[in-house]
Structure formats: C-alpha cells, structure tokens
C-alpha cells in the first residue's frame, strides 16, 4: 500500500531521511517509533507530500507520490490519504459536523444532505454524534482529535496516517483516541502511526519500525521488538522508556 525505496531528504545540510526502504502492506498497522528528532514525523509527512523528498521513490496504492504531477493530480492523490495531525487542526470557524462535511462537499462534490448524513454517521462512529453542532473550541482535546479522525475518514481513504495523534493530549484523554484507532485497525484499515504509545504498539501493531537519525534501524513484529530488540540503539531506547 505504501512503499519507501531508498528515500532521502535533506534540510539544507541536515540529512533528515537516510535511505529509507520499507513497506506498509494493505490492512497492516505499522507503528513508527524512536527518539525525538529521529525523522518519524518527517517520514510520515512525505507520504502525502507535505514534505518533499530529494531522492528515492515513494508509492502509495501503486502511484508514485513524488513523481512530477499537476496540482490537481496531487490534490486528488492527497484526498485518498487520511492524515491526522498532532495538533488536530480542526477548522475553528466551522462546527464539528461542518468540519467533517466540508471536504466531501468541496473536494468530491458530494451533495450537502448526503455529506451531512455521512458526517453524522462518522461522528457516531467516533462517539461524538451529540457534539455535531458544537464548535471545536467547545471540545476537549480528545474529542477534537476524534473529530479530526472522522474528518479524515469522510474522504474514505484506503489508508490513514497518524502523526503523534495523542502527544498533545492530557493523559486521561489518550485512551479515547486510542480506542477509536484500535477500532479502525480492527476494521482492517491500513494504518501508519507515529506514536509514543508503546502499549498501543504492543497491542495493535502488526509491525514496528524503529527510527533514529533518519534511518529505520529495525523492523520487527511487536513481540520481538519489545522482548528482544536487535539493534543496540533500540535496546537503549526501550530501556530508557522502562526506567520511568
């Protein structure tokens, strides 16, 4: 579904992604973890081309994302990739249901009443049907992030990307967002998640990628990764996590 092949990215002199080669298969849940500054967010943002790459190839659903293409082709491609941000980025001037309806109407030319029905059923799915008329500022962080997930799902993407979806949340709100992500995974959604929630990784992930300094150092199933990490850097990372 998503495949990286020798992907390199530089910020000026800084080598942010180093020869990344990996793939996310259809229906798979991949958790990307690693210390901060290791390039996890940069990596996930290259998938829908919020970040450009300088060399290598990245395909999504068989299409090369970074190949030269027109603006409208890129928009179309992006509309098929669900993306959830750390900072939610809901549109504060629109109500919750409008946030979810907005893109199906504008990007996919869906009819208004159809879009509203769809939005309401998605809000139901993330447990927020009662908040449809509220504005984002009236919601808690966890609720906002669930709306953001519903908003991304409204475009019916074949895969969802999560860029630290729970890092900006108070601890007691992490659970409700992870529950929604877990149910998505159970429904067979292809997911790539950058997260520090190791419990979620252990329980839901099919595969864990460990990154440091722009490279993927280890790819393993969660049991192996958490019990017997192979790479010394991964061992150190995990023991640092356990000490506190």
């Amino acid at each position: 579904m998503i495949s990286f092949s020798k992907v390199n990215k530089w910020y000026g002199d800084y080598h942010a992604l180093v020869d990344v080669t990996a793939r996310v298969n259809k229906g798979e849940v991949v958790v990307v973890c690693g210390p901060s500054g290791s390039g996890k967010s940069t990596l996930i943002r290259t998938v829908n081309r919020l970040e450009e790459i300088q060399s290598g190839e990245l395909t999504f659903d068989g299409r090369s994302v970074h190949a030269p293409m027109s603006g409208s082709e890129l928009n179309k491609l992006r509309s098929h990739i669900g993306f959830v941000f750390q900072s939610f980025n809901l549109f504060p001037h629109m109500s919750v249901v409008e946030n979810v309806m907005f893109s199906p109407i504008r990007v996919n030319s869906m009819g208004k009443s159809e879009a509203r029905d769809k939005a309401l059923s998605l809000l139901e799915r993330v447990g927020l049907a009662s908040k449809a008329g509220a504005y984002p500022a009236q919601l808690s962080g966890g609720q906002q992030q669930r709306v953001a997930i519903a908003r991304a799902l409204a475009m019916e993407p074949p895969a969802m990307l999560f860029d630290e979806p729970t890092s900006a949340l108070d601890p007691e709100m992490v659970g409700e967002v992870l529950a929604v992500m877990r149910s998505l995974a159970n429904d067979g959604m292809t997911m790539m998640c950058v997260t520090h929630e190791m419990g979620f990784a252990r329980e839901v992930a099919d595969c864990v990628w460990f990154m440091d300094a722009g490279s993927i150092l280890e790819v393993a199933d969660p049991q192996t990764f958490f019990k017997q990490p192979q790479h010394p850097r991964a061992q150190r990372f995990l023991s640092d996590l356990r000490t506190h």
């Binding site: 992006r78 980025n89 504060p92 893109s103 504005y135 009236q138």
Partner: protein, 260 residues
C-alpha cells in the same frame, strides 16, 4: 451654543449635500460615498494584493510588494496631486476630482490594508493550511474557505482602524476641489468669516459620529461571530475573544462576557 444652532439651521443642506441639485453632490453625502466606495473597493483589492504578496510566484509577489512599499513610502496628498495633474496629461482628457480621489484612495488604502490582511494570513498556524491541503483542497480553495475567514476575523480591529482612516482621508479631496464635507464646511466658514471655531467644531462632530458609527458596527459584527463560536478557537490564545475587542473601545471598559 445659539451660534452653533444658527449655523447648522442656516447651512444644514449645504453641509449635507453641498450645492446639489444645482451643483455636484457634495457635503456629508459626498464624504460618505467616497468612504463607502473607498472601503468597498479597497477591501477586496487588499485581499488580492495580500495573496499576491504571500505568493511563491515572483511574478505576483514582486509587483504587490512594490505597490505596498511605494504607497507606504509617500504621503497620500502627494499621490493625489500627482494623479490629479499627471493622469489627464497622460491620457489627454480631464478626470474629475471625484474619480481621482476614489482611485487614489482605493489604491493607497488597499496597499495598507493588504499588509493587515497579510499579517492575519501569516499569523494563522500553518497546520490550518496543511490540514486543508492534506484533505485534498487546492491552495485557493483552502485559502478562501479555511485561512481567510479566520485571518480576516483575527485582524478585524486593525482593518477597522484602516477603514476609519479611509473615511478621514476623504478630507484630502478638499485640495483638488472635491466638494466633500470639509469643502462644504470651509464654504460656510468663508461666508461667515468670523466663526471658524464654531464651523470646524461642527465639522469635527460630524466626522466623529461617522467614524464612531463604523466602530460600533464592527464591534457588533465581532460580538456576533464570537458568540457564534463561543470560546473562540484553540489555535488562538484563549483570551483573544475578549482582548481583540478592547483596542476598538478605547474610551470605555470592555463589557465582560461569559465564556462557556
């Protein structure tokens, strides 16, 4: 006081509409028309200039930047005189003072307003544009539906100041014989000769009322939007809804509104 009343009762029509219908429409009516045209044309133009100025294409950003720097660098009065004397020479026919005034005012004010709009666009967290693009919206669509509604709301106080200064700058029409309110007042003054304080006091009061009304209108609009999305947004500091109103209401305390 009786002098004031006498001056108003003798000259109210002149102050209101100038020589009309025997001459051009002037006085307060002319000032209001100039102001409304100035604001109504400068505002959309300023959004376009701001978009051009923030554009990654130099073909758009350079001329917009040049216009802004040009307008900021010279006094409005000088541009008015330039246009008034130069444009007829260039195109070979007369241009009325009124047309000159509207065009100059629109370009000058749009340049200043564009900087206000640009500050609003650039102050908005990048995540808003990114979220819209990630959902598949094109740049202009995201700008129009996501960025601008928030940016313009956030800079309403500064835009209002610019609108008010547009109204006040219509007075400069006086120097190129536009029969606006100041022109009418000075006609009255020339007839009376001995009452300049009274006449110009009346003039000041009228301008104040016009500008103050606009301020009230903007405040009402802002309150309406703030009430609609009570508590405003998380992407802005939580105190903004209250603070953003206060610069306008300089002469009285801001009423405390509850945030739910």
């Amino acid at each position: 006081m009786t002098d004031l009343v006498a001056i108003i009762s003798d000259n109210w029509l002149l102050l209101l509409v100038g020589q009309y219908p025997n001459g051009p429409l002037g006085g307060l009516a002319c000032t209001l028309i100039l102001s409304i045209l100035g604001i109504a044309l400068a505002f959309p133009l300023s959004v376009l200039i701001a978009l051009a100025r923030t554009s990654k294409w130099r073909l758009l950003s350079w001329p917009a930047t040049a216009l802004v720097y040009g307008a900021r660098g010279v006094p409005l009065l000088m541009i008015i005189l330039w246009v008034y004397f130069l444009v007829p020479a260039l195109i070979g026919r007369n241009v009325s003072g009124f047309t000159t005034m509207v065009c100059t005012l629109v370009i000058y004010e749009a340049a200043f307003l564009a900087e206000v709009v640009r500050s609003g666009i650039q102050a908005l967290p990048r995540g808003q544009m990114e979220a819209a693009r990630a959902l598949g919206h094109n740049y202009l669509g995201a700008m129009w539906s996501v960025v601008l509604p928030q940016a313009l709301y956030n800079v309403m106080p500064s835009m209002l100041s610019q609108f008010v200064s547009t109204i006040k700058e219509t007075t400069l029409g006086y120097v190129i014989n536009v029969h606006e309110l100041t022109f009418a007042a000075s006609q009255v003054n020339n007839q009376l000769l001995t009452k300049p304080f009274h006449v110009f006091f009346i003039l000041a009061v009228i301008y104040f009322i016009v500008c103050w009304s606009l301020t009230q209108l903007a405040e009402w609009l802002e309150r309406r939007i703030a009430t609609k999305r009570r508590g405003v947004s998380t992407v802005r500091p939580a105190v903004d809804a209250e603070n953003i109103v206060s610069p306008i209401a300089t002469d009285r305390p801001v009423p405390v509104r509850s945030i739910s």
